[in-house]
């Protein structure tokens, strides 16, 4: 699935998300729902900076930072990342964080899928009409 479609699906299923941007790890925008392109770019750049600062904020060594929520009275910012991309989203105040994270992770996964590779289909039950008519 391409990035634009993954982001369109995200905003369709998650009514809490006001705006979102899907970007490379360096902040280069793949797709955005921001009203203006420049705003999407600025949001992606700020999200990259936020992730970097958050990486440094943890004083103890440990595993890789994969997602964060910054909650403020005027709204929340969510960022989820994998090895190649990040998705940042803005919501209103007091969102359902678990759902937002789930939807953002799904969006990242879909955006990373090979568009040529189709989802596995369920096998149809073979029609076995041939054997029934015997005798």
């Amino acid at each position: 699935m391409d990035a634009g479609q993954a982001l369109a699906d995200l905003t369709e299923i998650s009514s809490q998300i006001e705006a979102a941007v899907l970007a490379g790890a360096d902040g280069s925008v793949d797709a955005s729902t921001f009203a203006e392109e420049e705003r999407g770019q600025a949001a992606a750049a700020a999200a990259v900076e936020l992730l970097r600062a958050a990486d440094q904020a943890r004083t103890e060594g440990g595993d890789r930072l994969v997602q964060l929520q910054a909650a403020m009275p005027e709204g929340s910012v969510f960022v989820v990342r994998d090895e190649k991309r990040l998705v940042a989203a803005v919501t209103g105040a007091e969102p359902t964080a678990g759902l937002i994270f789930y939807d953002l992770k799904t969006c990242l996964r879909l955006a990373g899928e090979d568009p040529e590779k189709k989802a596995p289909r369920r096998r149809r039950k073979k029609e076995e009409g041939e054997g029934d008519g015997e005798g």
């Binding site: 705003r39 999200a47 936020l50 997602q67 964060l68 929520q69 909650a71 709204g75 994270f101």
Partner: protein, 57 residues
């Protein structure tokens, strides 16, 4: 009496309290760290988050 006081305090806090600012970080190993608004980490991270937020509005 004590239970009533606790319930009252809870309701008062709930009514009067705005959403407390905080930043929650989640790591690949499943661990999580939360920085409250009185922490230096949050003081550093929240302005960056506001920059993201401001682009949407």
């Amino acid at each position: 009496m004590a239970a009533g006081s606790l319930a009252g305090a809870f309701l008062w806090r709930r009514r009067s309290g705005r959403t407390r600012e905080h930043v929650d970080l989640y790591f690949a190993d499943g661990s999580m760290v939360s920085f409250g608004d009185d922490s230096p980490q949050a003081a550093h991270l929240l302005p960056l988050a506001r920059r993201v937020l401001s682009q949407a509005r």
